[in-house]
């Protein structure tokens, strides 16, 4: 669930736009490079973007008695890195802000930051650390995607807390309150998202392992090992 239209007062909505823009510019630059140098990865980019589309349209009920939706950004963060992911998140957020009154145009900067930048950066960092520690690939993908989803909403709670400090207890008190709403609702959804992204990852390894090697997501050795185990 994104921050609603008009729910960030000045100067916060401008601040988040300013913070998000450098990431988006870098994302556009990387995207241009990808289009020029690795054209065969474009279908996979479409799949990763479509994945964000599908998952962020599914509002799921959670244990807290309220609903929220997964972000789906973990897959593209692992495959293409956090900067390109921020562009994909921007597209989805604009769609939802214009057609669904979900999220908003004035809060777009803040929402791009939480969903398109903060979460994916964490996913990418965790995945890379896990890869280095030669963790099982699927476990690694699961952890990265789950934590990224959860972290997105921790950041959302933080953004609202900064803009609306509680009268008593200030920013920390309202952070706890927003965290209870966003992050706790998100825990089961994040786990589901992690499992599904790990599953999709398996299918990508099945059909196009060469692209994963080319994108430096997996080494040829890992691919060989996984394919042997599956055979």
């Amino acid at each position: 669930m994104h921050i609603m239209e008009g729910f960030l007062p000045s100067p916060w909505w401008q601040i988040w736009f300013i913070v998000a823009i450098p990431f988006l510019v870098l994302g556009l630059y990387q995207l241009k490079k990808l289009f020029a140098e690795k054209r065969e990865t474009i279908p996979l980019l479409a799949v990763a973007g479509a994945f964000v589309f599908v998952l962020s349209s599914l509002k799921l009920p959670s244990v807290t008695g309220s609903c929220s939706h997964p972000t789906g950004t973990g897959l593209s963060a692992i495959l293409f890195g956090p900067f390109i992911t921020s562009i994909l998140a921007l597209i989805v957020l604009i769609y939802q802000a214009i057609f669904l009154a979900h999220g908003g145009l004035t809060t777009l900067g803040a929402n791009v930051f939480s969903m398109g930048i903060a979460g994916p950066v964490v996913a990418y960092a965790l995945y890379m650390a896990g890869k280095k520690a030669s963790l099982n690939t699927f476990v690694n993908v699961f952890i990265a995607a789950t934590v990224a989803d959860l972290f997105t909403y921790v950041v959302t709670a933080g953004q609202l807390a900064l803009a609306f400090p509680a009268a008593e207890g200030g920013v920390m008190a309202s952070f706890t309150a927003f965290l209870a709403i966003f992050a706790i609702t998100q825990v089961p959804l994040a786990i589901i998202e992690g499992v599904i992204i790990a599953l999709v990852f398996k299918y990508i390894i099945d059909v196009r392992p060469d692209i994963l090697v080319k994108l430096n997501v997996l080494t040829q050795n890992t691919v060989n090992r996984i394919r042997e185990a599956a055979a």
Binding site: M1, H2, I3, M4, E5, G6, F7, P9, S10, P43, L44, A46, V47, A50, V52, F53, V54, L55, S56, S57, L58, K59, L60, P61, V63, T64, G65, S66, C67, S68, V92, Y95, Q96, I98, F99, L100, A101, H102, G104, L105, T106, F138, L160, F164, S174, A177, F178, I181, F182, Q186, P188, I191, I192, V195, A198, L199, K202, Y203, V207, A230
Partner: protein
């Protein structure tokens, strides 16, 4: 095992569904008349913010006129995504079979 990932995903989703049914049963029992459970988390946050006296300074340029229209756009969003995913996985799979 070949289908290990699929089995794990199935179990997780099943567990999620069971937790939902159990929570829902207890929530529905304690619900006051006219109240509705399972609202959005963003709406709850909005309630907190508005209880502090804050008025949103900007409203959406366009809002879906009814819940039905809203679900139309959400399903459209999911359908577009699913179409693209299915198309390219099919494309990759048949390309792989051809070589």
């Amino acid at each position: 095992m070949k289908y290990k990932a699929e089995i794990i995903a199935g179990i997780v989703i099943l567990a999620f569904a069971i937790i939902f049914l159990v929570t829902n049963a207890s929530i529905q029992q304690n619900l006051a008349e006219g109240e509705e459970a399972w609202g959005g988390a963003d709406g709850q946050a909005a309630d907190i913010i508005e209880s502090g006296g804050y008025e949103p300074w900007f409203s959406p340029v366009w809002e879906p006129p009814s819940g039905e229209i809203e679900s139309l756009f959400f399903s459209l969003q999911a359908a577009i995504g699913a179409l693209i995913i299915g198309y390219f996985f099919g494309y990759y799979r048949s390309r792989q079979a051809a070589t």
